[in-house]
């Protein structure tokens, strides 16, 4: 049996405070999310935490743990190497309650880059064909399609800290993923959105987004690929 001290930054709509919980655990091979759920169910049901799949694929439980934005379900106690754990809501987001932040502005930014195959929509809905894709074309965007929209890259981005209008790594990565898909014909439409003041250009290559991405997406790289395609006036990224 091991004792943890979990310090949580809380918010109830009007005030912010730090609260400490003492939690006994029998194994260190459990996640920070497991510990937070234990707190909710056994000590303090008022604690708000967003979570669902507990296997690092749904993207619900992004938060800042011991100073690093990450998924609570993907962070094991054994990996932290400390019996003191500090948990706070994701940076660069409005807090709804406790560890729950408002991600809807992030989702709206993704929507703005048209995250779907742009070509004659009738072809999609009224034909029964495969557009087709060779394995080497799949590789061009595949890694960027891993994004789970958890918002962790948005929390880590230093630009978003001072310019909330910046589209940011999540949306820009989507712009690259869809434009680099051989089935897509939408580069011109998306370029108009991202080759703009708050589009790709504010990014100054800190690469914190790529460093924290829980799925290894590398949005920093996709932003540079977008810049390169714009500057070289390429027909598609």
């Amino acid at each position: 049996m091991k004792s943890l001290v979990v310090k949580v930054k809380r918010f109830d709509g009007s005030k912010t405070w730090w609260q400490e919980y003492k939690v006994d655990i029998s194994s260190e091979k459990i996640s920070v999310l497991d510990v937070l759920i234990k707190i909710k169910e056994e000590q303090d049901p008022t604690l708000a935490v967003r979570y669902s799949c507990r296997m690092a694929i749904c993207g619900s439980c992004g938060m800042v743990i011991n100073g690093i934005p990450r998924l609570a379900c993907q962070t094991l106690i054994s990996e932290l190497g400390d019996s003191k754990i500090t948990v706070e809501p994701m940076w660069n987001h409005e807090v709804v309650k406790d560890l729950v932040v408002d991600l809807e502005p992030d989702f709206e930014k993704v929507k703005a880059v048209k995250p779907y195959i742009l070509r004659d929509t009738k072809e999609i809905y009224e034909s029964d064909v495969e557009f087709g894709q060779r394995p080497e074309d799949l590789e061009k965007y595949y890694n960027f399609a891993y994004c789970i929209q958890c918002g962790i890259c948005m929390a880590a981005c230093p630009i978003l800290g001072s310019n909330p209008k910046f589209l940011g790594p999540m949306a820009l990565n989507a712009a690259y993923r869809w434009s680099a898909d051989s089935r897509d014909r939408g580069w011109n439409a998306r370029r108009a959105v991202i080759d703009a003041e708050d589009g790709v250009w504010p990014c100054h290559l800190a690469y914190t987004c790529s460093a924290v991405c829980p799925r290894g997406v590398d949005p920093g790289f996709s932003i540079q690929l977008l810049k390169s395609a714009i500057l070289r006036r390429r027909a598609r990224p």
Binding site: D12, G13, S27, K29, I37, K40, E41, E42, D44, P45, T46, A48, V49, R50, Y51, S52, C53, R54, M55, A56, I57, C58, S60, Q74, L76, V96, K97, D98, V100, E104, V110, K114, P115, Y116, I117, T121, I124, Y125, S127, D128, V129, E130, F131, G132, Q133, R134, P135, L138, Y141, Y142, A145, Y146, C147, I148, Q149, A174, W178, D181, R183, D184
Partner: protein
Amino acid sequence: MEILKHDLLIIGSGIAGLRAATAAAWASGGKISIAILSKIQAMRSHSLSAEGGMSAVLYPEKTNDSLELHAYDTVKGSDFLADQDAVQVLVEYAPKEVRYLERIGVPWTREPDGRIAQRPFGGMSIPRTTFAADKTGFFIMSTLFSETRRFDNIHVYHEHFVTKFIIENGEFRGVTAYDLKRGEFKFFYAKAGVIATGGAGRLYRFTTTAHSTTGEALAYALREGIAIKDMEFVQWHPTALVPSGILVSEAARGEGGYLINKDGERFMKKYAPQKMELAPRDIVSRAILTECMEGRGFQHESGMCYVGLDLRHLGEEKINKRIPFIRELAHKYAGIDVLSEPIPVRPAVHYTMGGIHTDTWGRVLTADGKWVRGLWAAGEAAAVSVHGANRLGSNSLSECSVWGRLTGEQAAKYILEQPPLSSPDGKVVEIAKKEEARVFDKLLHKEVNAPTPYEVKRQLNDIMEEHFGPFRHGSAMAEGLAKLKKLRDVSSYRVVDSSKVYNQNLKDALEVDGMIDLALVIGIGAYARMESRGAHYRLDYPKRDDVNWLRHTVAYLYGGEIKLTYTPVTITKWQPEERRY
């Protein structure tokens, strides 16, 4: 209480719900207003945890596959409880859906010539499981959610917890929902609805499913006179990671993985000599548990017995290309490298074959077979039924996409035939207001002497694991039923959080409140069914009984009590035969 009006409400945002939305948006030519209500953020539904793939006959001329063979495999896998006309719809539409998903951008894994690759799966006689590495559900989900962004008439309501279906004079009129983020109660008034809320794995403790897969919406439907079909058929997936229950996809065995006991023996040869590890899930799960009961399993420090899923012979390249997520999950959550050690696995609750009673086209029915006008159900929440007593792996993604599409299209057509949506009459507004009072006034106050929702859920999980597991017995189930009925007497919960914004404590109480009723539907159906079929296995009735039990269980609420009736199975081609694998 705010009143919002949309023509179509889709409750649930997994693959079935999202597909219903895109189908309705296109079929209506943008003319109807569609709302997707999700109790979590819409792109986070549990469909995305599906790993292995989606079944469809894609290239029959090249693979010698056929729709008939897919249908036969499915019917045999179902232990002959599937409705064969519905299965025919599944196999016909599944290839069209795979191609639709291809056109909207799903990154299907490809053959060198650009064809969509397919892998073997349990109970399928030919490799027909289409996949995107081992994150198929994730890629379909994320692509479909992205696709909804194309349509201006699709409105997404994240974190809106539906508390009640409003049905008046046999017609769907809308739902009430608790908006967690804003802390408001809302009435959504509509012409039509699609229930696509998924399964109920969290009735049990050891499950592959997400925390949100609690199934209360099915119980809420039951309370409004909707029937629930075949709920006693609960699928245990053979290979869940020990001790967390995280899914290790059947793709691991599809790609050639072995199951071994502590003597290093591929024990499936005793249970399914031909198909071995690729027998259907009910058979493999019972085989693993039998190995454990007979002392040939490994013992985990948590006390769980498990067997080994051995991938060592597959080689690093194949593992990284075809099943990289399994490698990652095993490393993260079990601390092992699949290249050097077998993965510790045991069966866990994975899927509910049963669900809302519908006809072949997903129209929601009452116990006497009447359509609740304007209401459909799709995906795991529905029992159409294509899975019968046991679902084959990779048939669920197909089902979700196929019936999502079919119900979305039908709903759009129905809406366009109706007069425009007026304002709700006083009577339905009154019902919605009463519901608001139940949730915000009654549930949301400190009931000091009542149990917490977590205590109740823990007891519920204990009862389900102990009395309604993969090996059932009449006397143990009778005991379990008594416990469940006692638990159902809990009429209030201690909700400590008194805030309205993001009150998860209240949401948890609402979930548990529905879960107890649904558990009782499972329990009563299982106790009554005196035979073994598919996933429902009884030690006291170990044989299938086609004379008395080749029929669907239909549960409904009457005077507050759960009652059962039965409907026949539709057989068009294949008479029941002994299942051998």
